[in-house]
């Protein structure tokens, strides 16, 4: 039987092709140059190309520009060095349809070595829907965060109102005084200029408080930036101290200077710390003594601690308090710590509560530094 092996192999190939066409996921095979050899039915449906027209073309045709340039070099590097960027790993990338539209896919690539020839099999799954639901979840989370943030601001409202009332009082009083002095001819231009300057300063002071509230109230997409944790704490304190002063709950600040930087969303981290300070004031009442501390536990970990000398959290509740809706306050929502925990988790960190030496509570937030991502 002269052509039996050839026959057998073409039979095997036909079976293989049938198998590929039956697969739900898009599957394609490329050679070591990136040329497409096989393109299954699902791939045809997904990308809008016919197998016959796409086979023989470079796989980068299926990628948006920003990937397509890099792809050839990835392939080359893998072939020469064996360095894996994607082979055998599988990751989420963007793909491009025939009509040019880009969509998210999960790509896993396997290597098939048959004799001399190296080939790569790519399995592609459309994850637009999964992405959409993930995004929806994230949006829901954001909305919840937003609401909690506003709730925290609401809890701080009395202190904030008091704080804004101070400069307003000063402005009104300066104005009344200046008018009286002017009408009795006891105010010259130099003096008036001085008083007007003071009024302007007070107006700016009121404006700054409002600006800080607006920053926090504004909805923000959770983007993380490389930042200095202490700088975020400084910003947080400007608002927190308004509340703390109002409740006569002084904050002792112990920040370790020169901390390694970290990838942080500053508004979210502010929210977490405001939450913790608010809870401490709420638990301890007027006259509570608060401590805000930052330090590096190691090169990899930063710590923020909020300590109070209030009643503390009983050992039996130290996990439960982080659950959504857990509250012991009549006007509580029970969302503060739950949101704080998910924010910290999205930063790759963790949050826990312990007993403070004074018998109060100490909440400890641990966050990873940017070590390894930047060389300083």
């Amino acid at each position: 039987m002269p052509n039996s092996s050839e026959h057998a192999s073409s039979f095997a190939e036909a079976r293989f092709a049938a198998l590929l066409d039956a697969a739900v996921d898009a599957i394609l095979v490329i050679d070591s140059n990136g040329q497409i050899e096989t393109f299954n039915r699902a791939a045809e449906r997904l990308f809008g190309y016919q197998s016959v027209e796409i086979c023989g073309q470079n796989v980068s045709t299926l990628m948006p520009d920003k990937y397509s340039h890099a792809h050839d070099s990835y392939l080359q590097r893998y072939l020469t060095t064996g360095e894996r960027r994607i082979i055998g790993i599988g990751r989420e990338v963007s793909a491009m349809r025939r009509d040019g539209s880009v969509f998210p896919v999960e790509l896993s690539v396997g290597e098939v070595a048959t004799g001399e020839k190296r080939r790569f099999v790519g399995i592609i799954r459309d994850i637009s829907e999964r992405r959409a639901s993930e995004q929806e979840l994230r949006q829901q989370q954001e909305r919840l965060e937003h609401v909690t943030r506003l709730g925290t601001l609401g809890e701080m409202a009395a202190g904030i109102a008091h704080e804004i009332n101070q400069p307003l009082t000063a402005i009104a009083t300066y104005a009344h005084a200046a008018r009286r002095l002017l009408s009795s001819d006891r105010m010259d231009a130099v003096r008036l200029d001085d008083v007007l300057g003071k009024m302007a300063t007070q107006a700016e002071r009121a404006g700054q408080i409002i600006e800080r509230i607006r920053d926090l109230a504004r909805r923000q997409s959770p983007s993380q930036e490389l930042c200095d944790l202490n700088a975020i704490m400084d910003e947080t304190l400007k608002l927190a101290e308004v509340d703390a002063r109002y409740h006569d709950a002084p904050i002792v600040v112990e920040m370790t200077p020169g901390l390694p930087h970290a990838w942080l969303n500053s508004v979210q981290i502010q929210q977490v710390v405001l939450n913790l300070l608010r809870n401490a004031i709420e638990a301890g009442g007027a006259g509570t003594k608060l401590k805000l501390r930052t330090y590096a536990r190691s090169k990899e970990e930063l710590v923020v601690e909020v300590e109070d000398n209030g009643p503390g959290v009983p050992e039996s509740l130290r996990t439960e308090i982080f659950n959504p809706f857990f509250t012991t306050r009549t006007d509580g929502t029970g969302m503060g710590l739950s949101i704080s925990r998910s924010i910290v988790a999205s930063h790759g960190g963790r949050i826990e509560v312990d007993a403070a030496p004074t018998g109060g509570a100490v909440f400890r937030v641990t966050l990873p530094t940017a070590l390894g991502e930047i060389d300083e």
């Binding site: 008091h162 009332n165 009083t173 005084a177 200046a178 002095l181 003071k198 007070q202 006569d248």
Partner: protein, 203 residues
């Protein structure tokens, strides 16, 4: 506005509020002195100071109410006008329960503030004058002999000489002599004036 010579002591932790208040007081030709905390004022405080206090009810450290309690213990006679904010209603109510108190809410109307301050200064000046008079009356009273004091009590009680003489078992003439000495030593000409002075002795 009348001159009382009193000083308005402004105690508020907010520098701008203090500064603007002292300017407003100056515009009404009132003297003021500013303090950034209750403790700062307490350190400065001396018995016999005259004037009134414009006192922030809510301050870090010792609160305005605590300062008032401290001043009470010192026997201070300075009237206090409390400065309150919107959120301080419960505090104000609490303060009222502990005695009648004057309040003014931030931000102030200038007329109202100055009027209250003026009233406080005048009432303090009046009290001060009363106290000075009481001191003088008491000093004069000290110079009376026991007999003269007894005669004075009877006169103030509205008794005529004849009744007093019978009661004290002395002659009417002697009563007249005592009575003249009392009037002289107490520095008054009429019984009505003597009655008024006697009221200071009860205090």
């Amino acid at each position: 506005m009348s001159e009382t010579g009193g000083i308005v002591f402004v105690v508020d932790d907010d520098e701008a509020v203090r500064d603007s208040l002292s300017l407003l007081l100056e515009s009404a030709s009132l003297q003021s002195q500013c303090f950034a905390s209750a403790d700062e004022f307490a350190e400065h405080y001396q018995g016999g100071m005259s004037g009134c206090l414009l006192l922030d009810i809510r301050m870090p450290g010792k609160s305005g109410l605590e300062l008032r309690d401290w001043l009470d213990q010192q026997g201070a006679q300075l009237p206090i006008i409390f400065i309150t904010g919107h959120g301080d209603v419960p505090m104000a109510v609490d303060a009222m329960k502990r005695g009648a108190i004057d309040f003014i809410q931030k931000p102030f109307s200038d007329d109202e503030l100055l009027q209250r301050v003026q009233q406080a200064l005048e009432s303090e000046a009046g009290d001060r004058a009363d106290r000075a008079e009481a001191d003088r009356v008491r000093a004069n009273f000290e110079t009376l002999t026991p007999r003269e004091r007894e005669v004075m009590q009877q006169v103030v009680a509205g008794r005529v000489n004849k009744v007093i003489a019978l009661d004290m078992d002395i002659s009417q003439r002697t009563v007249e002599i005592h009575r003249a000495r009392v009037m002289h030593k107490m520095g008054v000409r009429s019984v009505a004036d003597l009655v008024r002075l006697a009221s200071f002795l009860d205090k």
